[in-house]
Amino acid sequence: MAVNYSGGTSNQTELEKIQEELYAESHTLRDGLIEVDEGHKSGADVYESSADVTISAFSTGAVTATGDIDLNANKTGVSLTSFQYEDFIDEDSLKGTRFERSMGKGAFENISSEFDQKVLIQVAPAIGEAVENMIWDGATAADQTLIAALTPGAAQGSISAGAQTLAAAMPTNLVSSLPTVILHNASNAKATPGAGLGDYIKVPSIATVTSATIAAEYGKMYGVAPSKAVNHRAEPSEIFAPLGDRQLIKIANNAVGAAQQLNFVVEGSGESETISYNGHKINFVPLVGFRIFAIPSYLKVLMDLMSDVSTLKIGEVANGAMQRYIKNVQTMACWVVGQKYITLYGG
């Protein structure tokens, strides 16, 4: 008996899982790699202080005003920037797809619960990744101009031409990243207070970082870092390095044969893996071209509320529109203190 059918064919099964994009994890805020200081709406005053003392010969006489003890405190106002991610969501275009099955009955119902649970849910991690990138790479247009205007030179106390090239190539953002702030800031705690080059330590004579050179390049950074920062045991200095350094380090460490030199210590694996260089933990973050050797709390992200990063407001658009809005708002600034103890490879 012949079977007669017309009208084309259609797939009768589908994969339940909708593959999600892979988002870089936001370790900086989630794991507190650096100091996150909350509670600031639009601006925050950052204070730095120090005491300078000078020894003098013993005397049994009355204490005099010697000027041998200088107590210093200064304030720098840091402006925070508010920014947002927002859009309309119109799921009507999902009609005729698998998502239609999870829309409620009734012509007003055009929201797919499956789409919300499997696709819309990715907005938060995507924002998390974007913010993580913004902390470590990028500059405001104004800061890019200021950095380009600095006079480059090879000695400490001047920016390298390489750093200017990296800064010029950075994405233009609403908030300047930590490397940008290290390069140029208006801190009143610098040797020369006010807007200008940061007081960071530059790593001279650097070369392209590859698996063959990474140990030597980290050695240069370690070698030039201020001894006080290296020896600060109350809060050990850590290294902040580009994500790709993890691969270069492992390739370097795992070279076969006589070339093998274990310059980096790798302990654990997966989530608990830690990699260190000369006892200093390496944090892999989305830096581009730069590496930082610093006491972690000297690198700061000032925010209104850290959980703003993952807070999304979703609601119906007014006046009977069958669309929803989605909005995330955050307030942030990157800042650095104790600048003369921060070593910037690539600076």
Partner: protein, 55 residues
């Protein structure tokens, strides 16, 4: 005729502009710095000057 005064680019306060002005016309950066800076320093300065001239 006296030559130009040697300026070490690694000295504090020396800009690349100062250094390039001090470079004799008949010498490359490498030739000029040979014996005064390490090979590693010379290589870096060459890269730096390439970046500087691109600006």
């Amino acid at each position: 005729m006296a030559g130009k005064k040697f300026i070490n680019p690694f000295d504090a306060g020396v800009s690349y502009s100062d250094f390039l002005k001090s470079l004799p016309k008949d010498k490359t950066v490498s030739q000029h710095l040979k014996g005064k800076c390490t090979n590693e320093q010379i290589k870096w300065i060459q890269t730096e000057l390439k970046n500087y001239k691109k600006k």
